[in-house]
């Protein structure tokens, strides 16, 4: 089949036109604007660049964005797997409703999610009031950021696991059961390894999204310097001071982190496909 496709010639019309427009539009909207980050960082020189991205406040913001996104992605991995499992395997009333609502974090504007969680967990909010009695503070703390990022990343995990779980052949599980495996053993030794690539993909997507997330976080974070300032907010405040070079330096590091995450993910997926075929 692949051999046949390679020999196949391009006979349909419109290649030049469609390709030309695609490359033009891609360059105008994405490539040229993104390259501005490099063009604004390069004239800085090496030392001021290092100085800008290793300032204590900037380092603290990287650390915070990285760790909160990681915690949120781990939590999403667990809850996402559980939700996908429940939605694929069980039958219960309202299941389709839940399934549809999984996409809500994709569709809901981030700012709305932000003010919702900030109000929900404020000391007088529906959840914040109870938690305050136990001295748990969510708002103005890294925990609050994690809460917002869990919400944002949740659908990534569910939507990557669901199709894989749907396609798991029943025979595999039956075979395991015939050979005397318990349900839990079947899940741990057969299903989980099978689902792992999807789980990894979903949580990496959630993680990458979490590092850059802005709208839902700033309302709940409180934005205290050194404590709850996320990396995108650092870019924002440098921009407000017209420190364009500094802003692009911080942005460059953030971009490199997200790009390398996604490249790593591509590599893992390719390796996984080779394993299976």
């Amino acid at each position: 089949m692949t051999l046949f496709q390679k020999k196949r010639r391009n006979i349909l019309p419109g290649f030049g036109l469609s390709m030309g427009y695609t490359v033009f539009y891609l360059s105008a909207i994405v490539i040229v604007p993104l390259s501005m980050i490099f063009f604004n960082t390069i004239p800085m020189g090496w030392e001021p660049f290092i100085h800008a991205v290793t300032a204590p406040r900037v380092l603290a913001s990287y650390r915070l964005s990285f760790s909160t996104a990681l915690f949120a992605a781990l939590f999403d991995a667990i809850v996402g797997l559980l939700t996908a499992w429940v939605l694929v395997r069980y039958r219960f009333p309202g299941k389709q409703f839940l399934d549809a609502l999984v996409d809500l974090p994709f569709a809901l504007p981030t700012a709305v999610a932000g003010i919702c969680f900030a109000t929900l967990y404020s000391p007088v909010g529906w959840l914040g009031e109870t938690l305050a009695k136990w001295n748990i503070e969510i708002i103005n703390s890294p925990t609050g950021i994690v809460v917002a990022l869990i919400f944002i990343g949740f659908p990534f995990v569910v939507r990557t696991i669901q199709p894989v779980l749907e396609e798991v052949e029943q025979e595999i599980e039956e075979a395991a059961q015939c050979l005397g495996a318990t349900r839990w053993q079947t899940f741990r030794k057969i299903l989980l390894p099978h689902l792992f690539p999807a789980l990894l993909t979903g949580s990496t997507l959630a993680f990458a999204r979490g590092i850059g997330e802005y709208g839902s976080v700033i309302f709940i974070a409180g934005n205290l310097p050194m404590k709850t300032e996320i990396a995108p907010l650092m870019i924002m405040s440098k921009l407000d001071q017209f420190d364009y070079a500094g802003a692009s330096a911080v942005a460059l590091v953030l971009l490199l982190i997200s790009f390398s995450m996604l490249l790593l993910l591509n590599a893992v997926q390719e390796w996984q496909q080779k394993e299976y075929r």
Binding site: K6, N10, L12, P13, G14, F15, S18, Y21, T22, Y25, L26, I29, V30, P33, L34, M36, I37, N40, L82, T83, V86, R89, Y90, L98, A100, L101, D103, L104, L108, P109, T110, A111, V112, A113, I115, C116, T119, L120, W126, L127, F151, Q170, Q177, R183, A208, G212, E213, Y214, G215, F219, P232, I235, M236, L239, F242, A251, S258, F259, L262, N266
Partner: protein, 292 residues
């Protein structure tokens, strides 16, 4: 007409292995708990807060001039962004799925680039490109063209953020459909536009529609990127999400959530449309399978 291969019509219905009932109940319970905390409560909160000062205050908040200006700006943005990105999505999908060429994988990766970029960076790059302190921006300023802190800036930043949505929906769809139908039309003497209009477009219409809906949802809701390039001038460069933010930071929670409730309503609508279109998809692919 029924074929005995589908599991529904098979003579012996196999019983799917499942978990014991108590396990099921516990797992469903935990899932529901998560949904309550992270989906239902926030949704309920929006409406409880929005109506906390009564029905009249709610209507007043969403009919107030600044709110209406924000709605107008958001709609203008959507009306420009969605057709441009939809046209691009169709063109890019045509180029990628109907031809073989070198560098296809790289091109596909580049299309997804905006997804890997933080919204704040998406705003930043346009400030760096056409802001008033850059050479190009100051030249534009001399010509009397203002981009950053005005509507064009908001439109461009939104174009960037929603860039991949339509292409991403169409490429897998058109890859799965292949190019046999188009090539058959070509041999029968159809011209390029005829092939596209009579074969390709009807085949991809639901995917295109869905991509455009995702694109509009994101255009309406985009906050970070727009926040960087907008300048937050009330009545001029405030989109709906920015208006929500301003009201919130002024502690006018009831009005803020009232305006936010419009966005929640649109988000729920998007989710609903998605479910409907997916059902349509399944029906369509079923038809395709039945044909031969």
């Amino acid at each position: 007409m029924q074929k005995p291969q589908t599991p529904e019509s098979a003579p012996i219905v196999k019983k799917r292995i499942s978990d014991p009932l108590p396990v099921q109940i516990v797992l469903i319970g935990v899932t529901l708990l998560f949904f309550t905390g992270f989906i239902f409560l926030p949704l309920g909160l929006v409406f409880a807060q929005a109506f906390s000062k009564g029905w009249e205050y709610y209507l007043e908040s969403i009919r107030e001039p600044y709110a209406l200006e924000a709605v107008k700006l958001t709609l203008t943005t959507v009306a420009i962004v969605v057709p441009l990105n939809a046209f691009f999505g169709v063109t890019a999908a045509w180029a990628i799925t109907k031809f073989n060429f070198k560098g296809k994988a790289t091109l596909k990766t580049l299309l997804d680039l905006p997804f890997a970029v933080s919204p704040v960076i998406a705003g930043l790059i346009f400030v760096l490109l056409v802001g008033s302190r850059t050479p190009f921006g100051s030249w534009l300023g001399e010509q009397g063209i203002k981009i950053i802190f005005s509507t064009p800036g908001i439109v461009i930043a939104t174009l960037f953020v929603t860039f991949p949505f339509v292409a991403r929906e169409l490429i897998p769809l058109m890859e799965a459909q292949g190019r046999d139908e188009e090539e058959a039309a070509l041999t029968l003497g159809a011209r390029g536009w005829q092939i596209f209009g009579k074969i390709t477009l009807p085949n991809i219409r639901w995917g295109l529609l869905y991509g455009m809906i995702l694109c509009s949802a994101r255009s309406i809701g985009e906050f970070g990127a727009v926040s960087v390039v907008s300048g937050h001038i009330r009545g001029q460069t405030n989109t709906i999400p920015l208006h929500v933010e301003i009201l919130y930071s002024e502690y006018n929670f009831a009005a803020s959530f009232a305006v936010a409730s419009i966005l929640v309503f649109l988000a729920l609508l998007t989710v609903g449309v998605k479910v409907t279109l997916e059902k349509q998809f399944q029906k369509n692919s079923f038809h395709h399978q039945e044909l031969p």
